[in-house]
């Protein structure tokens, strides 16, 4: 068993376990911490897939930005400490059945799919390549994304501003 295989299964276990933690946890902060586990594991999986740039971006933006935002949101919106909003039993029941069926179906499909094996390609310099693609082929989506970010910035600021006094 090579190091890569070992690393993959360790990380997959971490990612899956954390995701399961997200499912089980009722405390919202713990859910966020479990999400951190998944995000980190996925970032490391990106390293395994030789998508280095993506991995660090996942860490910067997701773990370092989005997740902090989420935790921040939790702190602002949860007044009672450790407030627990338990899922309704019926929903949980149906949800479990649906999700299990979906997972079983997906796995069955994936295992039977006739992937023709292609030798994994090693990008020579992924950062430079990504940069050139972003500013070449994907220029329009790139610019659109920046416009979207601007809109989001304004929108979020507008939404979150304190209500005006009458």
């Amino acid at each position: 068993m090579s190091g890569e295989v070992l690393a993959f299964y360790l990380l997959a276990a971490l990612a899956a376990g954390s995701a399961l933690g997200c499912v089980i946890a009722t405390n919202i902060v713990r859910m966020a911490m479990c999400l951190l586990g998944t995000l980190g594991a996925v970032a490391l999986l990106y390293f395994l897939l030789s998508a280095n740039f993506l991995a660090v971006i996942q860490l910067v933006v997701y773990a370092g930005g989005t997740l902090i935002l989420i935790v921040f949101g939790i702190m602002v919106t949860s007044r009672t400490y450790g407030e627990k909003l338990k899922p309704r039993t019926s929903e949980a029941l149906i949800g479990t059945i649906v999700v299990l069926a979906l997972f079983a179906g997906l796995v069955a499909i994936l295992l039977r799919a006739p992937w023709t094996p292609v030798a994994p390609t090693e990008p020579s310099n992924s950062v430079a390549q990504i940069g050139q693609e972003l500013l070449g082929t994907y220029l329009v989506p790139f610019e659109l994304a920046s416009v979207l970010l601007l809109a989001v910035m304004i929108g979020a600021a507008y939404l979150a501003q304190p209500a005006k006094k009458e």
């Binding site: 309704r88 039993t89 019926s90 929903e91 029941l93 149906i94 949800g95 649906v98 999700v99 069926a101 979906l102 079983a104 179906g105 997906l106 069955a108 499909i109 039977r112 005006k164 009458e166």
Partner: protein, 733 residues
């Protein structure tokens, strides 16, 4: 993109920029500044339009064709390309210039007017909001003017509708204002409903939404005898229906006969809005639309247009006689004049209709602004019965208003005796004269065979074109119209000067009837400068400047013999008309109508209201009907609201007994089932499991009964279930 197109597009985008700026930082800019931003943008647009117009004038036919660049492909819908571009022709340019010019001066007026009118809501001045909306309106209207595709035109069409709604309801804390806004919007929806169906027919049968492309396909359909012409519905060909449905949009927007009720109520909006949107530009958009789809109108559809126009102009003119609110008088006169334009379109006087539109824009904006000045000066008093003698307090307003009155009355001297066919008169004189001349020609022309001078050579041209274009099929002969379509407008041409003079006299002349109002009357320079400019514009927007430009853009319709050629000849050979009895009679009868109307008004109202009231008492039944505006609002209220209520009752009953019954039944059955299964399982298994299953089943029943409770999670669950079913199906079945 050619220079001219670039100029126009920039001109369209400037008000948009102003809108965006004001929308975001308008409240920071504060009271006068935000208004001046809008004025600046519009003035810049106007300058650009003037430059474009001058460049256009300098081009020959080939240059004009070259200046028009290919439209840009925007999207492809089901194989149909959606292209947007600039519809570059003389009409676009002159309309563009007119809209920007009138808007600029109305914006300037607004800065003065709104300074005293914009209330504060929640401690925030709404001043900037007004100019935000105005800028958006300017953008939408200009977009409408340059649109080269029915789709783009429709987008702009809806945008101006929204702006109109916002601006009518500008004083939204006033119930009547917000009601009026809703009324205008809903009424327009009725018209737009027809418009949308018409658009659908265009897509279906012509498969091209660009104006030029649709016209070409239409022609092709006609020559090929496609389904549009071969199939009929209720005795009219589908082509006719298509034209009539497209015209429905214009009926709504231009406040034509069945849907005219919104425009008088729209006077709840601030007066500059009435001047700009509900008199000069937006309502004229209906006429503009008709002009643009003119080539798609069959003779029957044209007749429909003419009839609608005729009814409208009659009703509105009659109602205007008894109105006492200065703005309402103007509103009804606007409807009446729009009716004239539609009539002109219907009888084929394409050029005359648009010429009247342009002239009307100037003098109607002028009069509305004048009324705004009066209202502002008299502390929001709008009743002309309480005014009088204001000419001494507001000389500039009174005189410029008089210019407008003269223009709308068609005042001019049929100076037939002058050399070189010299004509004297304001824009309204020529345009109205031309409309009536064409109508006369359509009614009597062919029958009397008197068109050898007037129409002779010109009329052959379109006909020969038709013959060239239609292989095998003989061109449809234009049918003579009903004489009513000539005589009623002529009669109303006498009524128009009467009610306008009545309004002016009661407002400005005679003795002051309300001392309180009279004492406070004043005028401010920021407001009368636009008045003077527009009055000058009324003089200038005459025959010589506008008509050639409009004429240059006239289309060559395939199905209808355009009588513009005839009209052009008739107008240009005005002097020679004297040699023909009928023409001479027309010229004197209509041309001097304003004198009759003015004198009549002066006779009745020179001593105040007394004579008028006596007349009203004598003609009480007629007066009552007119005061109640022919009971249209009441009728609509009865039919629409009653109908809606009845429909509500029916749907409520259906909902209550059928839908609820079914749902309750399902829930009941499910609940029973769950209880039943709970009982059966209970006997074998542990209690907890039983309860779990029972509860699960019950909540399943709950899910069946109420799948729409606003829980997004459940929606996701439904979606997920669907996906899961599909995935499991693919995987295992």
């Amino acid at each position: 993109m050619s220079t001219i197109e670039l100029l126009l597009v920039t001109g369209v985008l400037l008000p948009l920029a102003s809108f965006v700026l004001l929308a975001f930082v308008g409240s920071k800019l504060g009271k006068p500044a935000s208004g001046w931003v809008a004025v600046l943008a519009m003035a810049a647009s106007c300058v650009l339009a003037a430059v474009a117009l001058m460049q256009w004038q300098g081009l020959d036919a080939a240059g004009r064709a070259a200046a028009r660049s290919a439209p840009v492909l925007w999207a492809t819908l089901g194989g149909m390309p959606i292209k947007f571009g600039v519809n570059l022709d003389s009409l676009t340019l002159i309309m563009f210039f007119m809209v920007t010019f009138v808007s600029t001066w109305i914006f300037v007026f607004s800065v003065g007017y709104m300074a005293g009118h914009s209330d504060e809501i929640d401690g925030v001045s709404k001043f900037h909001r007004f100019f935000t909306y105005l800028s958006l309106f300017g953008f939408s209207m200009l977009l409408l003017v340059i649109a080269d595709s029915l789709l783009l035109l429709f987008i702009a069409w809806e945008l101006v509708g929204v702006c109109s709604y916002l601006l009518i309801g500008y004083y939204f804390h006033k119930k009547s204002a917000s009601d009026a806004g809703i009324k205008a919007f809903v009424t327009n929806r009725v018209g737009d409903f027809g418009f949308i169906i018409g658009l659908g027919m265009v897509v279906l049968f012509l498969g091209d939404l660009s104006l030029a492309g649709a016209a070409e396909r239409f022609h092709h359909e006609f020559t090929a005898g496609g389904p549009l012409f071969s199939r009929t519905f209720c005795g009219l060909s589908l082509a006719t229906w298509m034209g009539m449905l497209l015209f429905c949009g214009a009926i709504g927007k231009s406040a034509q006969f069945p849907l005219h009720v919104w425009l008088p109520d729209a006077m709840e909006g601030p007066t500059p809005v009435s001047a700009l949107i509900h008199a000069a530009t937006m309502v004229a958009a209906g006429v503009y639309l008709t002009a643009r789809i003119f080539v798609l109108l069959t003779p029957e559809a044209q007749q429909f247009v003419a009839i609608i126009g005729c009814i409208t102009l009659t009703l509105a003119a009659l109602v205007a006689i008894v109105q006492t609110d200065i703005k309402k008088v103007l509103a009804y006169s606007t409807i009446s004049q729009l009716g004239y334009m539609m009539l002109a379109m219907g009888v084929g006087a394409w050029i005359a209709a648009l010429f009247h539109l342009l002239a009307h824009a100037f003098f109607k904006a002028l009069m509305f602004l004048g009324s705004g000045q009066v209202i502002e000066g008299c502390h929001h008093e709008q009743d002309i019965r309480k005014m009088g003698g204001l000419i001494r307090k507001m000389p500039v307003t009174g005189l410029t208003f008089l210019v407008g009155v003269l223009a709308i009355a068609g005042a001019g001297i049929p100076a037939l005796w002058m050399p070189n066919h010299m004509k004297l008169g304001l824009g309204g004189y020529f345009s109205k004269d031309e409309i009536l001349a064409v109508a006369w020609h359509r009614v009597y022309g062919e029958n009397h065979g008197e068109n050898e001078v007037a129409a002779g050579a010109e009329i052959q041209n379109p006909k020969s074109k038709i013959e060239n274009a239609t292989v095998g099929t003989p061109p449809p002969e234009p049918r003579p119209l009903s004489p009513l379509l000539f005589w009623i407008p002529v009669l109303m041409a006498y009524v128009t000067p009467f009610y306008m003079m009545r309004c002016w006299w009661l407002t400005f002349m005679g003795k002051p009837r309300d001392r309180h109002v009279h004492e406070h009357a004043h005028e401010s320079p920021l407001m009368y400068v636009p008045l003077v400019v527009l009055a000058l514009g009324t003089f200038v927007s005459s025959y010589y400047l506008f008509r050639p430009l409009v004429a240059a853009a006239a289309p060559h319709p395939f199905l209808t013999a355009s009588y513009d050629g005839a009209a052009a000849e008739a107008a240009e050979a005005h002097a020679t008309m004297i040699s023909h009895g009928a023409h001479a009679a027309l010229a004197t009868r209509v041309g001097l109508a304003f004198v009759v109307g003015f004198v009549l008004a002066w006779l009745i109202y020179r001593k105040g209201l007394a004579v008028g009231e006596k007349l009203a008492a004598a003609l009480k039944p007629v007066y009552t009907v007119l005061v109640h505006k022919f009971y249209f609002d009441e009728l609509y209220g009865l039919v629409l609201i009653g109908g809606t209520m009845a429909l509500n009752a029916v749907s409520y009953a259906f909902d209550k007994f059928v839908v609820d019954g079914l749902v309750n039944l399902a829930a009941f059955v499910t609940e029973r089932l769950s209880w039943f299964s709970g009982m059966i399982v209970d006997q074998g298994v542990v209690d907890g499991a039983v309860n779990g299953v029972g509860r699960g089943t019950w909540s399943l029943g709950g899910l069946v009964r109420s799948p729409q409770v606003g829980r997004i999670r459940n929606y996701i669950l439904f979606a997920a279930t669907g996906v899961a079913v599909v995935v499991v199906w693919i995987a295992f079945v």
